[in-house]
Amino acid sequence: MKLKWKQTTGLIFALPAVVYFLLFFIFPFCYALFLGFQDYDLLSKPEFIGLANYSKMISNPSFRNSMGVTFYYTFGASIPICIFALLFALLFKNNFRGKYIYLTIFMMTCLMGLIPSTMAWKVLLHQDYGLFNKIFFYSWGFADKLNWLGNPNLAMPAMIIVSLSTGIPYYAIYLIGAVSGIPKEHYEVAKIEGANFFQRLRFIILPAIKNVYIFVIITATISAFQYMGPFYVMTRGGPLDSTRVISLFIFNNAFDFQRFGYASAMTIVILIILIPIVFGVLRRGGESD
């Protein structure tokens, strides 16, 4: 195959990307697949054990617990995020004085970063001196100071609350862009027709922002599914494994217990769960072009 000068140039420009994908995307992928069948602790040589990692996974109650916790968190966080992000966007569709200041504050909350926001929430949710209890509970006469991060039944709801505070504004920003792109005439027609809020939502807003909204739903779900930052900083999986999401479980197995083969096998399982979603998104993206 003889390449024209222009083709060669293109190839040279794309070369760094090719190197990246080979070395840091395809290779780790294959390596994880390979290690999934090995017993490997970094010290001794990897030893082939067939499907033992996978069968160990299925029979391991901690793994099943982690999957359950992960699904709890994924739906518990992403459903309210998607609903409230849309409501946020609809609020910000309107013009009002000071909108700009509020928008800046919301962006601060969601973009401030993992460590600052989780460190703040860790103190805010403290049983004795946390302001969250003070503002929303016992100042209003509710009896107890809730021990958010120490109680196995409350820890996950607390983590969901933390995720809502960053997730809702974050995805709302995407939706604000889409909602403000809807032509004014559409609303005027709806007004003449006497459509109520839900009819406007159903027939004007949702069809217009459909693609962005689907993107938001899927991104929010995927990112919740593999989320571990706040869990690592705030609860470390506890109390009683009630917040040990799957990516944290993988992380613990790999880097605390040196079970790299086992961790790789779990990585592969997560990828197998995510890949149909990813390809579904890409196919949709292709259709909407």
């Binding site: 140039t9 970063g113 103190v123 992380f251």
Partner: protein, 280 residues
Amino acid sequence: MRGYFKNKKTGFLHDFKFNIIMIFLIIFFALPVFYLASSAFMTRIEIWQGMFFPAKMQWSNIYTAMVEYNMFHYFKNSLFFTVIIVSSNLFFCSLAGYALAKFNFPGKKLIFSLVLVSMMIPPVILIVPLFMEVRAMGLLNTPWAMIIPWFIDPFGIFLMRQSMVDISEEHLNAARIEGANEFWIFLRIAIPFSLPALVALTLYRFLYVWNDLFWPLLVVGGDKWRTLPVAITKFDAQYFEATELKMATSFVAALPILIILIVFSKKVFSAMSRTGGLKY
């Protein structure tokens, strides 16, 4: 998007209604930002009493954390890595984006589908094999381990490609006839053309790299190259009681972002809605 921030004539009652709703929302959503900024200047006792504001601004918290506990060193490390990774991303993403937008070469379709797929696969998932690869390369505990696996970013390639598709072919060909070489054309025509996308990419990557916790936690063990997020988690585990110093350090970690948001909030907003609109 234009005119979005401009406030058209609105009645007092209208403004009032929305401001009331917003204030209720702010109580919850601004709580972490507000508390971070306020507790960074409290005494330990004030935090443990559940105060909202410090009685007197304790500037010494910042000094103690930064100098006595050496957080400023980690801050500099974070800044160093962020600047290097973001600039490397800007250069290589636009180069690859330009190639995908304006050239035809064998394998182009395959590269583009890899871009799309890897954009959706969260990096946390590949962290275990990637760690072992970097370990096998002998890069552990060197600054290279922090930089090399992230020298380019798939979403960045996509962003730059989408922006550079719109460069007119005549313009490029005119430059070619003038005898300009391809790299010069890339630098002087393609790059200036896609400045807004570059701003969006800078912001996007800055936020990601500055806040990244797990990769630095795994690959740089020593004190020398430790970044601020890692240092804060270690400090959190080690000095259980020093709440005010943790808050002061976290506040300093958030400060660059908060300043960017206050100064450029319009730019950040449009860059963010731009990346969101492009990503689906």
